[in-house]
Amino acid sequence: MTIPDINPGSGRSGAWASTFAWALGRFLLIGAITFLGLLAVTFFIGRVIPIDPAIAIVGDRAPAHVVERVREELGLNLPLYQQFVLYVKGVLQGDFGNSVLTTNPVMADIRRVFPATMELATFGTLIGAVFGIPLGVLAAVKRGSLIDQIVRIIGLIGYSVPIFWLGLLGLLLFYAKLGWTSGPGRIDVVYEYTFTPITGFYLLDAILQNNWDAFRNIFSFIILPASLLGYFSLAYISRMTRSFMLNELEQEYVITARAKGLSETRIIWAHALRNAAVPLVTVIALSYAGLLEGSVLTETVFSWPGLGSYITNSLQNADMNAVLGGTIVIGAVFIAVNLLSDLLYRALDPRTRKR
């Protein structure tokens, strides 16, 4: 005998919770499979390239017996599939091996470089979303107008101009000529004695230490690269917002709302944007995840010690453990951000709460 549900409200939230659990489970499963595929592909590419990993580790000048010893230690004498099994076993135990280049455990290295990238990416995405969404909405509402054209040109430039060039130009203008911002780097050397990094997120660290001078200084450094990344994500976000909004504005509910006499402002910002927000979350999440991979060129131009330059540097030195570790972290970030955006979807779109 089943007990009838007395409280419809709780039943609804129960259903919501089960949907949530189902979604989570599905995600974890897909995530695990994706991970394994990612691992396999990266691992085999890393082993197939005609580079001797033992030489990459001990260097060109090492005596022969040392090279042989390292080859054995790494298990490079084993067949490929056994090497792969060993590697996956290590990863499952949280051991990603040591970086050849830095001799640190790969995860320790990534913990060091990732906050710098994340700080920049978060700031950049904030700028991109805060300016990109309104611009996209305006462009859609005033389709064909001057604003629309401007938004399109901004988008076009953001898509086609190489970021390192724009970065150098930004430095030349805002740092060298106008002196509005600081140059390459994260913090001025004069704060070396008053500021100590704790979390690796410098803005946050400055707040934690109540060091507002340092905060202002860090801000003056981060604002230029963050604006640059922000600009690129703005270009993407505004274009997508525009097309989502155009789609929504043609819907019948907009006509209904107009017929009901709602103000245009309310129709645009409260109704149409609300509906466009659902796919927009995915767009923003993907652009954020993209920035979290680290932008090698931006990091190089602005001397930003982030994940992008770490992985590139490792790749150039055939440091496969670091490359694999970095790939896994990026993969995890992508999957996590996707999961988050999917959950946000559910919060934003009431239809997904019912089955």
Partner: protein
């Protein structure tokens, strides 16, 4: 008009944006660097450890040279000579096996601990037992983990006795003792941080235990290295309170920082940026030739390249002038012998220039009148790619068809070490400031079999030279420095025409320097780029 029509929330956002624009613009332009601090922009991403027993990277060589003392040092004014550092004097026994060093009195580490011969012995023991990359510089004297205590020992607090296994040239032994791996470390301090018999290696990765003119305060990988004056230094105290190395990889960014005065010295300026900064009256440049030589080599397993006339001909088929003027301007100078300038036994002879007629004649003599086809493995970066292309053009003038195989650095190296290349373009930097470092690799090949374990450059090109190998060994054992220098000069002359190495150029290091910086001098090696005597 449009402000009135948009939502109040959006208006708020716009004013927020305007406000933040105001905030950015109110940040003042930064002043110049503090007067007691030297700030350098430098690509420091090669640093992986601060431990002198392990570090073998160029940047760390420089940091170590400023922060650690050794028994002896290179004379920066004449790097083919040795001067005393921690040692006050030294003697070599008549049989050439025992070196006795008397230390200066009252030496102290930066920590305040007294520096005695005990610390010197511990430093040697530590380097040998840790057995990291640079340890071979000491193990080549017969030091092993089980005999180091006997062969490198303190007989009293101010006497250190070092015993080598053969009667080497004293200049060779002393030159090796100037290298980073022979740095004297603070035994008492390190013993406080030993974990699992690691000789403090884990702690020393990021810590400092030396006695040099500067001390290392902080290192954050790919970000910053901070040096401070060591007030316990035995010699003249550094005029500046601190020296800061900022990691800036991009040449254009370094130039902006330098022009703006946010740094005092830019270390990685590329030719075009260098040209621009020289036009600025606030900036000067300083340069020095370094111990790295670029060459391309001819594998003797290739039957065409094995002919002596072909080896000779190819040396006349390189447009040295064009390479010197265009491709390596400001970063190198044409050099054709295997020892770099400023090292004992250097020989500055440049017999080769582009001479197509002579090359054709030689090729005809070798029975290759119509030329031949050959490949070259080239790392895909500059300046080697440009040089390879230049060589391709000049080779073609005599009918030699060169195919360039581009590859990643580690990839071409793997092939080179397996001796499966035809030609390979690369560079060789001296491991320690002694002619043997290069002579050993360019002119000795103890076992030319494929199974040979001593993979010298001669071996990698299958150049079987038992006679030269013997001569190289003899030069190593010549105790009179003058005679020894002459032997290396003879050796270089002898292989100029016949060796399978086409020497191209010696690297030059250049720095852009603000005009208020005084006494900056780049040394001949990377560990003699001294900053401790710089003032502003």
């Amino acid at each position: 008009m449009f402000m009135q029509r948009i939502n109040p929330k959006f208006r708020l956002m716009l004013s927020g944006a305007a406000l933040s624009a105001l905030v950015f613009s109110s940040i003042p332009a930064l002043a110049e660097t503090p007067p007691d601090t030297l700030v350098e922009a430098f690509a420091i991403d090669d640093v992986i450890t601060l431990d002198p027993a392990e570090a073998f990277e160029l940047t760390m060589g420089e940091i170590n040279g400023n922060t650690y003392d050794k028994l002896v040092r290179l004379d920066v004014n004449d790097p083919s000579k040795i001067v005393a550092d921690l040692a006050e004097s030294w003697t070599v026994s008549d049989d050439g096996l025992t070196y006795t060093f008397k230390l200066k009195q009252g030496l102290k580490f930066a920590s305040g601990n007294p520096l005695t011969a005990e610390d010197v012995a511990y430093s040697f023991e530590r380097a040998i037992k840790l057995d990291k990359s640079p340890a071979f510089i000491l193990t080549q004297f017969g030091l092993k983990p089980d005999n180091v205590a006997e062969k490198a020992k303190a007989t009293d607090p101010s006497t250190f006795v070092f015993t080598v296994d053969q009667a080497y040239a004293p200049s060779f032994v002393l030159n090796c003792l100037t290298s980073t791996v022979a740095s004297v470390v603070d035994k008492k301090l390190i013993l406080e941080h030993v974990v699992n018999d690691d000789f403090g290696n884990a702690w020393m990765k990021t810590a400092y235990a030396g006695s040099g003119p500067m001390k290392i305060r902080d290192w954050r990988a790919n970000e910053i290295i901070v040096l401070e004056r060591n007030d316990n230094y035995y010699g003249e105290k550094a005029p500046l309170t601190r020296v800061i190395y900022r990691h800036v990889k991009e040449s254009a960014a370094q130039r902006l920082l330098l022009e703006k005065g946010d740094i005092d010295i830019a270390r990685n300026l590329e030719p075009n940026d260098l040209e621009q900064v020289t036009k600025n009256s606030d900036i000067t440049t300083v340069s020095a030739p370094k111990g790295t030589i670029y060459y391309f080599s001819l594998n003797q397993k290739n039957e065409n390249l094995a002919k002596p006339e072909v080896r000779q001909a190819l040396k006349y088929l390189v447009d040295y002038d064009a390479i010197g003027e265009k491709l390596i301007k400001g970063i190198g100078e044409i050099h054709q012998t295997f020892l770099p300038k400023n090292i004992l036994g250097q020989l500055d002879e440049k017999p080769f220039k582009l001479d197509v007629a002579k090359a054709k004649e030689l090729l005809e003599k070798a029975g290759l009148k119509d030329g031949f086809t050959v490949t070259m493995d080239v790392r895909n970066n500059q300046p080697v790619t440009g040089i390879a292309e230049s060589v391709q053009q000049s080779f073609a003038q005599a009918g030699v068809k060169l195919e360039i195989i581009p590859g990643d650095g580690k990839q071409t190296l793997t092939k080179f070490r397996a001796r499966t290349h035809d030609m390979y373009i690369g560079q060789w930097g001296v491991d320690y400031w002694d002619p043997h470092s290069n002579a050993e690799t360019f002119t000795s090949n103890p076992d030319n079999a494929d199974t040979g374990t001593n993979k010298t450059l001669a071996w990698r090109n299958a150049w079987d030279v038992p006679e030269l190998t013997k001569e190289t060994r003899q030069a190593l054992l010549e105790r009179d420095p003058e005679k020894r220098a002459t032997m290396y000069q003879d050796l270089q002359r002898k292989v100029l025409e016949t060796s399978p190495f086409v020497m191209l150029f010696q690297q030059i290091e250049v720095a852009g320097v603000r005009a208020n910086v005084k006494n900056l001098k780049l040394g001949p090696s990377f560990d003699t780029n001294y900053v401790f005597n710089v003032s502003k």
